[in-house]
Every structure is written in structure tokens, then in C-alpha cells.
Subunit: 211 residues, 2 copies
């Protein structure tokens, strides 16, 4: 096993600054601006880390599929590891790390299932092959080998060719309703700008954190 | 607040495959190979999401500073939010998402402090300005405004000009000792390859997971 010392790898973060007068008091408006910029410059601007809690926290990348009414929506298999983790611990965190912009957005909030209709609508909007892929995969269960998955996929392709693929029962969306949103802009000498918004009733309080 | 529907943004993951015969039984050897490739092709190959658990999981990006003896080392302020979270819940997760390679590595394990000497050695290897930045920031505490931080930084620059900057008492490294490591390679039609290694005594067990 090769050991690897990468301690001298560091970038200077000097792309932008984040000051109170530009940030404003509405974290969703700020998120929208940053998100638009990320979509224009990032390879995977919609990618976010979803972390679930408890004694054994777990993280994976998911794609943000909708941002609406201050809720962050993604879709998954409710019976997957992450679905079970959310069922046990509905408080989750989301993290966007937009490298080209030297920015992070850290979100903490509660995940709740979206309506069955919304899940059906989104599932029907996906490409046929992705629908079949979702059907073929018993997410997070063990497989004997790759061929087992490929065979199931091929079989289902034949079954549903030229038909509407039904949304699997255990497949659907979650909306994360944030309680805390932190915006992080990298700055030189590790003196990064951090603005934290905390929900307070129907309003948001904002404070600057030490980097 | 602008709502944003990005449901039709999706990439086809077709860069590579991850099969058992190539992966082998040693997750550290596989990590080393993938890490080398990430360093060659990613803007921030050492960047990883550190997630802490409990009832309110929290995530942030940190930089991997050393990978040695199967341990993943990063440095921070022990008194920061993340230091306190680790103190309360030493089980953490790490996530590398290497977009150019369409790969993720998900790690779960326990974080333990590295030796004081190792922390001193690394601190002394950092650029002078970053050392002063660490000294100037009472990490995660609130600041009145940006100027408060800049002024403290400027003052400390003068104090330590041409001197050795002492490592702050509360600053140091953590080594994460993994219990589970999952390698994820994106594949078309969401039929991704996932190989999970689980520590079992001194050995690792490997299984393929449904995507």
C-alpha cells in the first residue's frame, strides 16, 4: 500500500468575497444567485453531499432536482441505505462544494417525503433507460456480480419496451426544509468569509463566523 | 426568491468500470490508485467532505493532508464546531467525489487526534500567512464584521514578522481509521458499480452493492 503525503497541495482562494451588504438577509435569494453561477461554471453544479446522522454518519452524492419554496428536493429509493437512515434520523445535512467558484453552501434541516404524485411525475420525466435502471436495482442490497444486475436490466428492457414504466413503490423524493444555511467563500491566507443564516420563526438571523 | 427546476440536468457516466478482478481485496491499494488519478485530473483532488453525526449531522469540506498506514489525516482547530462534533461523536464519514473520473469513495470510521508532534510539524510546514490566519481566527465563533478579522490578522502579521509562529494549542490533526470503504464508479442508465469493503479483524470483506 502506497502512503501519500499531499500536505503541500494547496490553492489560493481569491476568486471572490462575500460581504454582508451583497449577501442580504434572504438566504434563498443568495442561494439562487450562487446556484445560477454554479450551473454556468461547474461540471456538476447540481451535485450535493447528503449526510445522514446518528452514531454512524454516512455521506453520498445526490443531485438536486428542484429548489422551490425554500426546499431542496432530490429523489432516491426509500428502501435504500439512505432512505432507511433518513427514516431513523430525519435531520440531514446537504453540502454544495463549487470548486470553480471557491464556494460552499452548508445546509442543515429536516427531510420529508414529497407527495406520491410529485414522485410519479418526476419518475415519468426520466429517460427510459434510467427508469429501467431504477427498476432493476434493489438499491444497497448485495449482488453476486455485475452480470446479475445487467441480466435483470436486459430482461426488464424487454418487458417494458414501448410501454410506460411504472414508478417502483419504494422510489420517490425528499424535500429538505432548512433550519441553518451557511455560505462559505474561500479567501487567501485561510481567512474565508462565512455567513450563517439561522431560521427564527418566519425570519432568518444572519451572523458572520470566524473561518 | 427564484425557484429552480433542474430536473433535466443529467450526465451520462461512461468514463470507466469497476470490476472485482481489477479492484482486488485491498481497499487501500485501490484507494491509492484512484487517488493518484484524482490528483492528476481534479482541480481539488484532496478535497473531501467530512461529516459528523448525532441528531444534527453536519458536513464541510476539508483537505486530506496525508494518507498513511490506512489512515486519512486532516488538520483543523480542535475547538471549532467540527472539533466539538468529533469529540461528541468520534464516528465520522469522509466522502471523495471526483467528478472528472465519475467516482466516489465513501469512508466510515473513527477519528482520533494525531500526536502533538505531528501537528506541530505540519503547522510549521504551512505558509507564514496561513499560520497567521489560523492564529487570527477563533474558528466558528461569531465576528462583528470582516474588519475585525482583518485587523487581528494585520496585528499578528506585525507581531510575528520574521519569527516562528507557534502552533495554537487547540489546533491539530485527526486521523480517520476506516471500518467501511465503498468505491463507486458511475455507469450509464444509473447502473453504477459499487464495491463495499468492510473491515473484519485484520482483513477486509468485499461485496458488490446494488446501485
Amino acid at each position: 500500500m502506497a502512503d501519500k503525503d499531499v500536505r503541500d497541495i494547496r490553492r489560493t482562494y481569491d476568486h471572490d468575497v462575500l460581504l454582508e451588504e451583497d449577501a442580504g438577509m434572504d438566504p434563498f435569494a443568495l442561494f439562487s444567485r450562487w446556484f445560477d453561477q454554479a450551473l454556468a461554471s461547474e461540471m456538476e453544479g447540481t451535485a450535493m453531499t447528503l449526510s445522514t446522522g446518528g452514531e454512524h454518519p454516512s455521506s453520498r452524492t445526490v443531485l438536486l432536482k428542484e429548489f422551490r419554496n425554500g426546499e431542496f428536493v432530490f429523489f432516491t429509493n426509500y428502501a435504500s441505505q439512505k432512505g432507511q437512515a433518513i427514516s431513523n434520523h430525519p435531520n440531514v445535512s446537504l453540502l454544495f462544494f463549487w470548486q470553480t467558484l471557491q464556494r460552499q453552501v452548508r445546509i442543515q434541516g429536516q427531510a420529508t417525503k414529497v407527495s406520491e404524485q410529485e414522485s410519479v411525475d418526476y419518475f415519468q420525466s426520466r429517460p427510459f433507460e434510467s427508469q429501467i435502471g431504477a427498476l432493476a436495482s434493489h438499491q444497497s442490497d448485495a449482488l453476486v456480480n455485475r452480470e446479475e444486475l445487467d441480466q435483470r436490466y436486459e430482461d426488464l428492457l424487454e418487458v417494458y419496451r414501448n410501454k410506460t414504466v411504472p414508478k417502483p413503490d419504494h422510489w420517490g423524493g425528499y424535500a429538505v426544509i432548512p433550519e441553518r444555511i451557511e455560505f462559505w467563500q474561500g479567501r487567501p491566507s485561510r481567512l474565508h468569509d462565512r455567513l450563517l443564516y439561522i431560521k427564527s420563526g418566519n425570519n432568518w438571523q444572519r451572523k458572520r463566523l470566524s473561518p
